[in-house]
Amino acid sequence: MALEIVSDSSITSITTRQGSSAQSLDISSSKPSNSSILTRIHAGYFSIALSLAAQALLWKILSEPKIANNASKHERDVLSLLPHIIFLLLWWFALLAQVSLSLLYVLRCFFHFHLVKAEFLNHVAVNYLYTPWISLLLLLQAAPESVHHAFGIISFTVLYWVFAVPVLILDVKIYGQWFTTQKRFLSIFANPSSQISVIGNFVVTRAAAHMGWKEGAIGMFSLGMVHYMVLFITLYQHLSSSSRFPTILRPSLFLFFAAPSMGSLAWNSITGAFDVTCKMLFFLALFLFISLACRPVLFKKAMRKFNVAWWAYSFTTTFLALAALRYAQEVKAEVAVVLQLALTSLSLLVSLVLMVLTAAKVNRLLHEDDPLMNFINNSKSKTSALPKVEETVNGQK
């Protein structure tokens, strides 16, 4: 058994409260050479697929021919040809990523169910269980025309339902815990990743609206909105400071502005027009984005080593860019167009960089333990108050 020193900030004492990374000894238990891809892929890896799907959606909207345009039809076709190709490429790539990750995760459920259970019980990792469904819904939404034709509307609706129901089940479990259970106070367990659940609700809202089911859309929206308000307030209060949230997951602070931007898109899909509520949510998202962008110091510690949490940068900025796109379409002012261009290019750049980095470090991703898993194990051992570390995963190099 190898002794592994893991940089992990989850174990803190009162003095290292401010999130400084503490060294923790990760003594492997009696699980010798069982570490494989299956033990390392956790739900957070689906953010890769999510980001790709979001990018595909962005490119789809970008490649749509503009309606009121003075250019001739031919020019318009040419102009939209390149984005269309990129969109198709992205969509198929995203589909591929999603399918392969899903397969791996299903295998993991079969062979290492205890690990999946550990994820489910951890207050940070459970939110990442929403990500596969969100990316599936986005993929459906971003599907190209050819796929639409091939599958027909009925199967699409069925698929929407199939992907929305797990979100609802997770909602019932997680939101129900917030106000019923004694042991899991929201004030203690709220963390920035909880906003993924809110995003999930808003994405289901959009799906329902696209399917034509207005009432369901409004229902899901109000559900998401109410819990978003509660969560927003709790997170801002920082009652539990940052002691229970690992520094390595700081990129998920970007979720602060992903949630309202997705909310504005959701309300937009309900009402059809980008009205005042949508604008207010979008402005809130914009303000939070500027506020976070002015504080690079927050992210310094998380940027030391590449890990899958970095993909949170991609889909969050893509959501913001999508909202900015809709805003610019509604308000045809120069400022809005400039803003939209800036945000879109930012999200493209970020996604591109992340794709390159992932490709370069795919070994690291697949063969090393992700810090999130270590965090799960460590906090599990901490809360169970047992002196020994329970089954951990030891990455053998």
Partner: protein, 599 residues
């Protein structure tokens, strides 16, 4: 290290009596050599310094103050700021000296040098010696006790003296004295530890301050940023009388627009005056401004100048102009935007200034700016910009509102008794309702809901008027009048939409209440300023030391201190609730169980 000490000694002006440490029995000699060096260099002090040679019997009485050397001169890290001297046991030796001091108005700080001062205890350094202009001596020697707060260590003053043709000041060594004083920012915990009271401006009994307490500080140092509240109060009155004169529902009162004109000009004058005074404070005493900025209550008052300017723009009489330039809005909103990026970002990113720790009713001032800006923007015809600020303000207002209502146990700054600061609760919804009404064009539901919330809060505070007694008057009270005025203006707008007897009566009532309160406040301010002469007291809140003085019974406060610093587990909250805040007053010697936060 020696250099710093050397410098601090050198800037000792005249009338200094040096007793070397080895001559005094019982003195804790730590290093002979540097002592000699310091003595040698102090011999270089200019002019009329009476450097006595090292004999003890020269404790003679002169017509000047005797100051002896501090006992532990080698703590150069403490040399930074002038600290108050503590009298020690052997002082009666020097008692005759002190009482013999015939110099008027010179407080003598003598220090026994019989034992070393424990670290953390405020020690007297030579900077403590302060002199007013003694008549019999040259008046060119400045008071140096406030140098640590001065920008550029008083260099500017020396240059000004030079320019005015005064005596050329001492050159050289003293310029280097204060460079070590650029201390890092005070952590917010220091403010909570050292201060108490609803505005966090009263010093706790166990604390000490770095500036001399019994001396009146320079006026600029005594001018707090909360004086901008006066601008807020007066300019909101101008808006009120403008609304009264121009609204449909109050036309029956036949208010002349002249009142608005007069009030507006007064407000402009007041704004100019206070702005310039504070600007001088920024120029001359930047350190004091920094400390105000780090104060958890005072930081919100940094929004007040810009809100006052917005009020001025809103209340501009129609005889002057009817249409404001749009660029004015952008110019006025930029400082607000920058400030709120900083403050809200502090809330969001956690750390020592997170909301659960620093939330207090004055935070409403940082929220109201958004709504006032939205109102002004809508008045000049913009749509998107005002909506931006409205959305941001609304989101953060909800957070603040919930936090304050919760009265979290981790929150120290909420006053247990009611204080006029609670009227700030009324401010945000009233201005929000007006802003929404202006954005939408009519006083619709989105405007009525915050308006009714504002009314409810107003009444629930007004019926508790008994609990507002017994507070020390402060200039910040002016800031608490503008919510009342805001509520009155919102009521007038509401009565424009829903015109009936009830709403009109309410409008008139609220308007008269707010005007009465402002006039009463004006009278009180005049009384305090000219009769009682205690309007601008020494601003203790900015002079707290950056280290806590050693306490005997500090175990429980340290426990509380740690607890406040990091409620990192729900167990901590339970423990905190078990040991209620009264425990910290009890000075219990028994240590609370130390399981508190060792995870």
């Amino acid at each position: 290290m020696d250099q710093a000490k050397q410098n601090s000694l050198e800037e000792t002006p005249w009338l200094l009596h040096f007793i070397p440490s080895n001559d005094v029995e019982g003195f804790n000699n730590q290093s002979q050599q540097s002592e000699d060096k310091t003595l040698n260099s102090s011999a270089m002090v200019a002019g009329t310094a009476e450097v006595q040679s090292q004999n003890r019997e020269s404790h003679q009485r002169k017509d000047s103050a005797f100051i002896s050397m501090p006992s532990s001169p080698f703590r150069s890290d403490e040399v930074k700021t002038p600290k108050r001297v503590a009298f020690n046991l052997k002082e009666k030796e020097f008692g005759t000296m002190i009482s013999d001091s015939t110099v008027k108005g010179i407080p003598v700080y003598a220090k026994s040098h019989s034992e070393p001062v424990p670290k953390g205890f405020v020690e007297g350094t030579v900077e403590n010696i302060n002199f007013t202009q003694h008549q019999s001596l040259d008046s060119s020697y400045r008071d140096r006790s406030f140098d640590s707060f001065k920008t550029w260590s008083g260099k500017l003053e020396r240059q000004l003296t030079n320019l005015r043709g005064g005596r050329p000041p001492e050159t050289g060594p003293e310029e280097k004295t204060k460079k070590s004083e650029k201390e890092t920012s005070l952590p917010v915990d220091r403010y909570f530890d050292a201060l108490e009271g609803p505005e966090l401006d009263t010093l706790r009994a166990s604390e000490q301050i770095v500036l001399p307490e019994d001396k009146t500080w320079p006026f600029l140092l005594r001018f707090p940023v909360s004086s901008f509240g006066m601008c807020l109060g007066v300019s909101s009155q101008a808006i009120l009388w403008k609304t009264l004169a121009t609204s449909e529902s109050t036309k029956f009162l036949h208010i002349t627009p002249l009142i608005n004109l007069v009030l507006w000009f007064i407000a402009v004058a007041l704004v100019i005056v206070i702005f310039s005074i504070y600007l001088m404070k920024v120029l001359f005493y930047f350190e004091a401004v920094r400390r105000e900025y780090y104060h958890p209550v005072r930081v919100n008052f940094f929004f007040a100048p810009w809100i006052a300017l917005l009020f001025l723009a809103l209340g501009v009489p129609s005889s002057i102009t009817n249409n404001l330039p749009v660029v004015l809005w952008y110019v006025l909103m930029t400082p607000i935007f920058c400030f709120e990026l900083k403050i809200y970002g502090q809330w969001m990113s956690g750390g020592q200034r997170r909301l659960s720790k620093v939330a207090n009713p004055s935070n409403h001032l940082s929220i109201v700016g958004n709504f006032v800006g939205a109102l002004l923007g809508a008045s000049v015809g913009l749509k998107e910009g005002p909506l931006f600020f409205f959305a941001v303000g609304l989101a953060h207002y909800i957070v603040l509102f919930v936090t304050l209502y919760q009265r979290l146990p981790t929150n120290e700054t909420l006053p247990k008794e009611l204080h006029p600061v609670f009227f700030l609760f009324v401010a945000a919804p009233s201005v929000a309702s007006m802003a929404w009404a202006r954005l939408q064009g009519s006083f619709d539901y989105g405007a009525r809901i915050p308006y009714f919330i504002c009314l409810f809060l107003y009444f629930s505070l007004a019926v508790r008027i008994n609990f507002f007694r017994g507070f020390k008057f402060s200039l910040a009270w002016w800031a608490y009048t503008f919510p009342m005025t805001g509520a009155a203006i919102a009521t007038i707008r509401y009565s424009n939409e829903v015109t009936n007897v009830v709403s009109q009566t309410l409008a008139v009532t609220l308007a008269s209440i707010s005007s009465l309160v402002v006039s009463a406040l004006l009278v009180t301010t005049m009384v305090h300023a000219f009769v009682l002469r205690d309007l601008f007291l020494n601003d203790i809140a900015i002079a707290i030391s950056d280290k806590r003085p050693k306490q005997h019974h500090h175990t429980h406060t340290r426990w509380l201190h740690n607890l406040r610093q990091g409620i990192s587990d729900h167990k901590d909250i339970e423990i905190f609730l078990k040991f209620s805040p009264e425990a910290k007053e009890a000075e219990a010697s028994a240590d609370p169980p130390s399981n508190e936060n060792k995870v």
